[in-house]
Symmetry: C2
Subunit: 240 residues, 2 copies
Amino acid sequence: MPNPTAAMLVIGDEILSGRTRDANMHYLAQELTKVGIDLREVRVVSDDRDAIVGALNALRASYDSVVTSGGIGPTHDDITADCVAAAFGVPIDVREDARSLLQAHYDSRGMEFNDARKRMARIPDGATLIENPVSIAPGFAIENVYVMAGVPSVFQAMVATVVPTLSGGAPLLSQTLRIDRGEGEIAGPLAVIAQAFPDLSIGSYPFQLNGAYGSNVVIRGSDGARVDAAMAQLAEVFAL
Amino acid sequence: MPNPTAAMLVIGDEILSGRTRDANMHYLAQELTKVGIDLREVRVVSDDRDAIVGALNALRASYDSVVTSGGIGPTHDDITADCVAAAFGVPIDVREDARSLLQAHYDSRGMEFNDARKRMARIPDGATLIENPVSIAPGFAIENVYVMAGVPSVFQAMVATVVPTLSGGAPLLSQTLRIDRGEGEIAGPLAVIAQAFPDLSIGSYPFQLNGAYGSNVVIRGSDGARVDAAMAQLAEVFAL
């Protein structure tokens, strides 16, 4: 059975302008790979309603689950929750469960729970909250879409909550063989091995060390015996 | 006049599996911003023909230019050039100008110019080569699509060649004001300023320092006088 699929939607002008370097894509990719969910596509869009709604609808129709990051804070450019509601065609308003979480948080710190902060309690109808142990303002899940914060510490905490609830697949196993020859020398024999193991993903990643070319060949698959067999053939072909 | 737009297509299983952390998106975003080209969307797809062709055709129809990274090496999983040819519906084969560049390179090093390496001379009909001063194997440009290597040093060299040839816009100016209050406290007044300056992009980026909340407010725009005016209003509102 093929693994479940996922996509990610990164939302934020600051990524596309180069001000901020996204860290969430790499983190999510690693966490999904561990549990056998194939991250198939990532899109990065700006804080623009049409762009967010369009990308979200395309991704949620194509993959088993979609994780978003960014745009759920209190400021005017945080429009993700409203865009998700629009994409699903459901109403959105301040919801009591989210409001009371935030109210208690600000009360305990003697801070005002003002209108801007109340924006963070706007949750589309039918969504369930995703806990935010770092800064309280929740994410939410609606159908196959998981809406999370862009701040990496919060994003990571939300991923830790959500990923164990997703249906995983066979975890991806991988083995790497370092070959001290350039990609151009190993590519021919490597293609023959890749053809013999169509159920595996065989990738080659070049490096240079002290002026010499080398390649790390990574064999990935969910069947350990097959990965072993391909690795054995690889070692034999390159006489290691 | 609005700035020219661009999109990026990152190609590679290794990014989506979390093995490699992409560095090219952030680099390109910064370089385009400097010359007034708006990077509007990034997609990351796997080494899959349908995924690459589909994403490329969607992006090249929507934006003024598209930069791709990855998948132009000599190994079996390097299928970008063939996918670009398929997307444009043009033939592709080993081309003499690219072949002779590579032949001279391998001859000078006493290395065999074998079939795998000849794959790197496959160029779609009608494309022009993009120089690769690092490792010779060229990228190429076809219509509004710029096909570049995934290895960051090569990608950066190709960006340095291509970006000055693109029609730029008014470079984006930005000013940042650090405000030692949390986003939730400044969001209300900030929204009022954002409404008064619809021609500017005003973003807020929270931080925590020694347990206290703060926000960096970034005002971006191509008209320096307008950015100054918004910044003055911001400073006045927050009585700094």
